[in-house]
């Protein structure tokens, strides 16, 4: 693990969140470095997805959601000093299930750029092509860009969703169990893409698949019941964890 001059991308201090009266994240302080793959593992209801959705403020949409503490992106408080649209443009998210819009492949990818004011056809075409190449989908779809995105397979749809995010030129990509509905080959393709993406983007990956975290992660955090139990280099977490609970979880003794 290279330790040379790691810049902090996300700096989370004393984060507490609630849905109504139920606390979902408890006193979380954690840093994510630029251009790393930061993986988060933990059983269901451990606050992993809540954490991700706090980073691009999608939680704002949930009635009854409350948040306390600070989340800094490049040292700017995203809840106090950042407008939400440009935040979400900088911090994209890939959901567990593929979520194509009921549009053509082209229009799905051009959706984000269009919303940000790009209307020139050839510029859009350039963005679509570049995004599809980056997500290794171009060769499979280049002849049918104007057919419905629903005709793609599940794995292709998920890569389409990744291209759609790349098209708005983000800095951070959040992955919320992106391969939970995919077959092993599609999963491998998505993982491969992540390893290349980290040269350009910061990646935060929530996964239920412990092996996946060990395959692609640079650093790994273990969440349990809304609390951070342990965070460190992925290799270290998987070979010599500090905490007994972490060891029990990754060896499959509970969870």
């Amino acid at each position: 693990m290279e330790t040379k001059s790691q810049t902090i991308k996300f700096n989370i201090q004393q984060l507490n969140t609630w849905y109504g009266n139920v606390q979902s994240i408890k006193d979380l302080t954690i840093q994510v470095y630029a251009n790393e793959i930061f993986t988060i593992i933990g059983p269901a209801n451990s606050g992993k997805s809540t954490f991700l959705n706090s980073l691009n403020r999608l939680n704002d949409l949930t009635p009854g959601f409350k948040l306390d503490g600070t989340i800094l992106l490049d040292n700017v408080d995203i809840y106090k000093h950042h407008d939400v649209e440009s935040l979400r443009k900088r911090v994209g998210i890939v959901f567990a299930l593929p979520t194509p819009l009921p549009l053509s492949i082209f229009d799905n990818i051009a959706y984000g750029p269009r919303m940000h004011g790009i209307t020139n056809k050839s510029t859009l075409m350039g963005i679509v092509e570049k995004s599809l190449i980056e997500s290794y989908l171009w060769d499979e779809v280049k002849d049918r860009l104007h057919t419905s995105a629903f005709n793609l397979s599940g794995g292709q749809q998920q890569r389409l969703c990744i291209s759609r995010i790349l098209a708005v030129n983000p800095e951070v990509i959040l992955f919320d169990e992106p391969t939970s509905g995919l077959d092993p080959i599609s999963t491998a393709k998505v993982e491969e893409a992540m390893l290349i993406f980290k040269k350009k983007y910061t990646i935060i990956l929530v996964t239920n698949n412990v092996a996946q975290a060990s395959r692609v992660g640079d650093r790994t955090a273990f969440f349990l019941m809304g609390k951070l139990i342990e965070v460190g280099d992925t290799k270290k977490i998987f070979t010599a964890p500090h905490e007994k609970q972490t060891e029990d979880y990754i060896t499959g003794k509970f969870g």
Partner: protein
């Protein structure tokens, strides 16, 4: 239990249900058949395009057809944008609190207000208070208010049926709330909104009471020239020639009913075709 018994029950049940359905459909078929049978003789080019002559006993019903088209168009022009925007506010923006629940309840109840009450309301507010006089404007607005609840309710249901994931995806790509509604929600709600509009058109074209005090003319020798003119309208004209003027041939009365019926069906057909165009795109 006895298997034979169960089978007999099954037969009785299906026969009973089929019988009820026939009982419901039968009057509709009979009404249509009688109107068609008695009215078709009156239908010719002159009937559809000429002014009434000789105390409405001869000539055509063109001014009434035109008047009804004006009124329906005016009502939809007024109620559709207003209703859709209201529905968007209620579904996408309003918080689920006491006030918004009251508003929703009020709108649902508005649909149940008798049409003659809308007529009186239109007389009071548009004809007298706003001084539009007895005019196309006053009549169209009155009909518009009458069909608003239908359009709002249908639009709300259409908006609510658009999957939440479309909104989340759009927002997560950095689109604003209005962009999300405009590009990811509204296009997929259009078929449902059009269904509401179809129902509204049918009601606006057929109601007599709301136009009675606000626009409808007993007889006009000329066509309207502005929105502040009175017009004749098919439902009121039908009432007039059926009860107020002696010596109108039966075929004219049934012919007028047939025209009104066909007009509503044609307007509906148009909206249905538009809707199916949008539905073809709908895939999720």
């Amino acid at each position: 239990m006895n298997l034979k018994n169960v089978k007999t029950q099954e037969k009785i049940a299906s026969a009973l249900l089929f019988g009820c359905t026939v009982l419901v459909v039968l009057p509709v078929v009979i009404i249509l058949a009688i109107i068609l049978y008695k009215g078709i003789a009156a239908i010719n080019w002159e009937f559809l395009t000429a002014m009434p002559k000789k105390g409405m006993t001869q000539g055509g019903i063109f001014p009434a057809i035109l008047g009804t088209l004006y009124l329906v168009a005016g009502a939809v022009l007024f109620a559709l944008p207003l209703g859709v925007l209201t529905a968007i506010y209620l579904v996408e923006y309003a918080k689920n609190n006491y006030l918004s629940r009251i508003i929703k309840l009020a709108i649902v109840n508005l649909a149940g207000v008798p049409s003659v009450v809308y007529g009186l309301f239109g007389l009071g507010i548009f004809v007298i208070f706003f001084q539009f006089g007895v005019s196309i404007l006053a009549g169209a607005l009155t009909l518009g208010i009458m069909i608003l609840p239908v359009i709002i309710t249908a639009s709300r249901e259409a908006l609510e049926s658009v999957p939440q994931s479309f909104r989340i995806v759009s927002l997560s790509l950095g689109a604003s709330k209005w962009q999300t509604i405009r590009h990811s929600v509204l296009p997929h709600a259009l078929p449902g909104i059009l269904t509401g509009t179809i129902l509204g058109i049918g009601r606006a074209a057929g109601e007599t009471a709301p136009i009675l005090f606000t626009v409808a003319a007993f007889y006009l020798p000329h066509l309207p020239t502005s929105i502040f003119d009175q017009v004749m309208a098919l439902p009121y004209h039908l009432y007039v020639i059926s009860t107020q003027v002696p010596g109108i041939p039966e075929s004219t009365r049934y012919g007028t009913a047939l025209v009104l019926l066909s007009l509503v069906l044609m307007l509906n057909l148009f909206a249905i075709i538009v809707r199916s165009k949008f539905r073809k795109k709908k895939k999720w």
